[in-house]
Subunit: 83 residues, 2 copies
DNA sequence: AATGATTATACGATATAGCGTATAATGCAG
DNA sequence: CTGCATTATACGCTATATCGTATAATCATT
């Protein structure tokens, strides 16, 4: 279960998954991060222009972190974006 | 050597390290990503407001990727930000 | 179907990325 | 120390995040 995130959409999807796993709604996550529910919504939907600082804040609130590593080949089963 | 990146500054530092390892200057990396040298500079210096889409583009150009995972305790030796 | 909870979207306002272009500051080899 | 390469910074411009506030759309449960 390595959660590769190569695009804002993948990052948003992982944030949403984790938020739900923690039983939070967007308003609650927003409260933890001083962001509006509307902002959490756009992040989870993969807005390309979200600020990296904002993403980092949200990850921290969810006890997540980024790791940066050389790209690896993706197993087909890890792909979500194949039409 | 797990490259944890919890802040824009850490992300920028890792991008710089990788760029240099690939023997590219900021202008060359900019060319690969359709970004200006000045933009690469601000990214590497940890600008909080850089767009996540822009970061993803730069990582791709450097053959890097994000992994998102639950936060782990950081070994003291991995810390760069301790004054 | 109805209701309450959750998420998506709207509008005007403010702040700022990234652009093009240019220059200043710094780094480095000889 | 000198000169070239590299990186940092500046200015005006356009696009857009995020804000506050509010509402519309969707989901889930009964």
């Amino acid at each position: 279960m390595t959660d590769i995130a190569r695009s804002p959409k993948q990052i948003g999807a992982l944030i949403r998954k984790r938020r739900r796993a923690k039983d939070l709604n967007q308003t609650e996550l927003g409260a933890k991060t001083s962001l509006r529910q509307a902002t959490i919504s756009t992040i989870e939907n993969g807005e390309e222009a979200t600020r990296i600082g904002t993403i980092c804040d949200v990850l921290a609130a969810l006890d997540l972190e980024f790791v940066i590593r050389p790209r690896r080949t993706v197993k087909p089963s890890d792909l979500e974006d194949v039409f």
